[in-house]
């Protein structure tokens, strides 16, 4: 039964008493900008001359990325022994960095898929860049497990491809599940990102063609796959987007769940704990939003995108960071509590050792960055200070790297056999390899900024008051959704 039909008869007298107290919603695009302004603003980033800062950053990023190339080349040429793993810590830097990057890769799909399903329209200003970030983070994450197999040319053994060697993958290992989870996640993330790009690529095609740049016009046209903006195109697009959002939502949750299983299915004290799956997912969202803030705030300042990434957007991101950081804090607390309550001496030792052992410095960095830092976001004054928000977002990134380091290294360094206890320190090759991934990530992100629209223009326009068929001035909320 439709709403109109329902309200037409028997409307109760209570409706005559309804008198909402005025409290306007925040606008999602400020200063009453037009559709044309948005197109010009976003396309202008791509069409304009390449700025000097971009070249400087690009060269620096390429230089930093070369550290990963050098580190991996040396590893392949020499063997995995060049990494600092030694008994009892036979698993450290590679898996720490894998989980760190894959966690960052969660925010993009979360913003695109889950916030889409939850009809959170504020996501439109940040979802494109966050999706790009996801893909680039997955690329960085994938490097570590692929190369940690040692003889990387045999990495394809991870896939259950029938072969004459009678190799049968260990399907009982969560590391094998990771292969499927991460590759599926990467594939769907690329698809999701690409589908969302189609209307915007067509705009760029038309603009470059009109400006006489036929090569770029052709290239954008090729990737726009013949998009003409017809009703049928939009209809198919909307359905595809919704289906991909539906598929991505369980995927985004499953990937980090399986990453948590890498540890939780084991018997290692500090790893085997039932809260790991939701705790890892919350941590991934936390770190993902930390990285989104780290990337979007400078982008906003450089390209003067304050009308599109408003204070309201920053508020929302800060609040999600606060909420997920607090959930992570709850999980830390529960782990500690159950380590005591469980009365298992090994579990108890593992947690006492984390907080007061040789790696206590790492533990307290983790607690400070992941539990204390986000609490600053309770305060409006902090959220309104973009420089401070950016600095705090860096702390979140640092803290989440240390979380993985603490979980993995502290439990292994003090195993069941005291005579084998050790202290893990990364080798210079490991440090170079990880440091370089920031360059790899930055190179990809800079290329994205330069050649692809950093925001979904069509989606942005749909949340503006002008898109509201009822003419509501209540920007962002009177609009009839994602009906472009």
């Amino acid at each position: 039964m439709s709403h109109a039909a329902e309200s037409a008869h028997d409307a109760p007298s209570i409706l005559r008493e309804v008198n909402p107290t005025p409290l306007p919603r925040a606008t999602l695009v400020e200063n009453n900008r037009s559709f044309g302004w948005i197109t010009d603003k976003i396309c202008g980033i791509i069409e304009g001359k390449t700025p000097t800062w971009w070249w400087v950053c690009f060269v620096v990023a390429c230089f930093v990325a070369s550290f990963t190339v050098a580190g991996l080349t040396y590893l392949v040429a020499t063997g995995v022994g060049v990494w600092g793993h030694a008994n009892p810590v036979n698993w450290a830097w590679d898996i720490v960095n894998f989980v760190f990057w894959i966690g960052i890769g969660h925010a993009g799909t979360l913003i695109s898929a889950i916030l889409c399903l939850l009809r959170q329209k504020w996501r439109t200003s940040i979802n494109r860049a966050a999706e790009a970030m996801t893909i680039f983070a997955v690329v960085c994450a994938a490097l570590f497990p692929v190369f940690h197999v040692g003889r990387v040319w045999f990495a394809w053994y991870l896939f259950p491809i029938p072969n004459s060697n009678y190799i049968w993958q260990n399907f009982r290992s969560p590391l094998e599940w990771d292969v499927f989870a991460v590759s599926t996640y990467g594939t769907v993330s690329v698809l999701f990102w690409y589908v969302g790009l189609l209307p915007d690529l067509a705009i760029l095609r038309d603009r470059f063609t009109a400006a006489g740049n036929r090569l770029r016009g052709w290239l954008y046209g090729f990737f726009a796959m013949g998009w003409r903006g017809s009703n049928r195109h939009w209809s198919n697009y909307e359905m595809a987007y919704l289906i991909l959002a539906g598929i991505s939502t369980p995927l985004v949750l499953s990937v980090h769940t399986i990453v948590s299983f890498d540890f939780a299915v084991s018997l290692i004290p500090g790893w085997h704990t039932t809260i790991f799956p939701p705790y890892f997912v919350a941590g991934a969202i936390f770190s993902g939003f930390g990285m989104v803030l780290t990337l979007m705030l400078p982008l906003r300042a450089i390209y003067r995108l304050e009308d599109l990434i408003t204070q309201y957007h920053i508020d929302c991101m800060c609040k999600i960071t606060l909420a997920t950081g607090t959930i992570v804090g709850y999980a830390y607390g529960m782990e500690f509590f159950i380590a005591w309550y469980g009365a298992n001496p090994y579990e108890g030792f593992a947690f006492i050792n984390r907080a007061f052992g040789h790696y206590a410095w790492a533990y307290w960095i983790m607690i400070s960055c992941n539990v204390i830092t986000p609490q600053f976001f309770w305060f409006k004054k902090v959220r309104e200070n973009t420089t401070l928000v950016w600095v705090l977002s860096i702390f979140v990134n640092v803290g989440m790297w240390f979380e993985r380091f603490v979980i993995i290294v502290t439990s292994l360094a003090r195993d069941f056999l005291p005579s084998s206890w050790g202290y893990y320190s990364p080798s210079i090759v490991e440090i170079f390899t990880f440091f370089g991934t920031f360059g790899v990530f930055s190179v990809l992100f800079l290329l994205f900024i330069r050649f692809l629209p950093v925001m979904p223009m069509a989606e942005l326009k749909a949340v503006m008051p002008q898109a509201d068929p009822h003419g509501s001035g209540d920007a962002g909320h009177g609009a009839s959704g994602r009906s472009h």
Partner: protein, 417 residues
């Protein structure tokens, strides 16, 4: 709208009758078994109230709009907390007058041979390590503190919301946001502590970090189910005609679907990680619910577990996938009732097997004592429904001055928030 008064009276009579019948059980089955039934009833109705508390606070913290017209019913539901606290008193009294009857660790002299063990609780090294928490004083303090916090949060949320009906002042909206901001972590911590002490510690050797999250998931599912039942009841009565539209039903159905998946995710993760690690310190909790150690055969609880797997996940999952069903005012109450009933079964599954025989095996699921579970659920439920119906006529049907009430009344599927 004032028709709540006679209905409230009926609910009170039913509640008191249920309590009286449960009291009769003391003579038939003994205090310990009745206390287990009473605990099931309190964690069931308390869970619904807690779920409503979380939903109201989540509503405020998100500045949500579509749920404004439903929120008022949850606020009425919060009126039950003080009565639940009162109804919890017999269990608190058992701490002093019958220690060990429900929670063995209350009595260090408890002979563990009665439940297939050896020695006394006081000689049990695992209890000794946890004694700082598992002792009568901590139990009473945490119980009082938890109920105190829930009652206080509920009172703040209700008072501000009701006051806004009269003066339309925005300060009430802001006050509720602040209450929700500090209330959510407070409620999360107290819920966890309460369920650890009340239920998990029944088998005090067992532990799981997921337990608080499991109870939270169940509470919200049950509260949403109760929300659907109230929505349909008020719709049929005519109060909600012209107020609710199809999209409100669709959205609450979507939330039920989301929490169905969340519950399954949490429950599966807990089971899977314990099964896979296969550590006896953890697996015994599930073994107790699968087989009889004396015979080696599957016990009745195994089939309850299977029913939970299919009934608490697969059935509602497939039922709630349907868009049309979520809009159906004839089918959704049945789905809601089913979820609420299975939440009750889930609690029975978590609580009752801790009542063991001399071999250390769980008492069978189907026995006379489950009658007292039914009467206790009816008794406590009657009081909770009475508290709701008593609160119902004291305010407007919907928050008429809420800043988002307009958006809620005109809510359509593609609206934001």
């Amino acid at each position: 709208m004032a028709a709540g008064a006679p209905a409230a009276g009926r609910a009170l009579v039913i509640g008191l009758a249920g309590i009286a019948l449960t009291a009769l059980g003391l003579l038939v089955s003994g205090g310990a078994k009745v206390a287990f039934s009473w605990l099931v009833a309190l964690t069931f109705w308390g869970g619904i109230a807690l779920g409503m508390l979380f939903l109201v606070m989540i509503h405020h913290i998100f500045d949500a709009s579509w749920s404004v017209v439903i929120r008022r019913q949850f606020e009425h539901g919060l009126a039950s907390f003080k009565w639940l606290a009162l109804l919890f008193l017999p269990l608190v009294a058992s701490v002093y007058f019958a220690p060990g009857a429900v929670w063995k660790w209350m009595n260090p002299a408890y002979d563990l041979a009665q439940v297939g063990g050896s020695g006394t609780v006081g000689e049990d090294v695992l209890w000794a390590k946890k004694a700082a928490l598992l002792n009568p004083t901590a139990f009473v303090v945490i119980t009082v503190l938890s109920f105190g916090i829930w009652i206080w949060l509920s009172a703040r949320l209700r008072a501000a919301s009701f006051a806004q009906d009269a003066d339309g002042d925005l300060k009430w909206t802001y006050r509720n946001r602040v209450t929700a901001a500090f209330g959510l972590p407070l409620a999360a911590v107290t819920l966890t502590l309460a369920i650890v002490l009340w239920v998990k510690s029944l088998d005090y050797h067992w532990f799981s970090t997921m337990y608080g999250v499991w109870y939270f998931a169940g509470c919200v599912r049950a509260a949403l189910s109760m929300g659907v039942l109230i929505m349909v009841w008020l719709w049929v009565r005519g109060d909600y005609r012209g107020v609710l539209n199809a999209n409100h039903f669709h959205s609450i159905g979507q939330l039920m679907f989301a929490f169905t998946v969340f519950w399954a995710y949490v429950t599966f993760s807990q089971y899977f990680l314990i099964w896979n690690a296969n550590i006896p310190e953890e697996t015994f909790w599930y073994n107790l619910r699968e087989m009889n150690s004396a015979t080696g055969f599957a016990n009745q609880w195994k089939w309850v577990g299977m029913l939970l797997l299919f009934g608490h996940f697969f059935v509602p999952f497939f039922l709630l996938l349907s868009y049309k069903r979520k809009l159906s005012r004839t089918q959704m109450p049945w789905v809601a009732l089913w979820i609420a009933a299975i939440f009750l079964l889930d609690l029975i599954y978590n609580i009752w097997p801790s009542k063991k025989d001399g071999n250390g095996d769980a008492l069978p699921f189907l026995q006379l004592h489950q009658v007292w579970t039914v009467t206790a659920v009816i008794g406590v439920g009657g009081i909770c429904v009475w508290a709701y119906l008593r609160s119902f006529p004291t305010t407007k049907l919907i928050p008429i001055r809420d800043p988002r009430i307009g958006e809620s009344l005109t809510y359509h599927e593609s609206s934001a928030d």
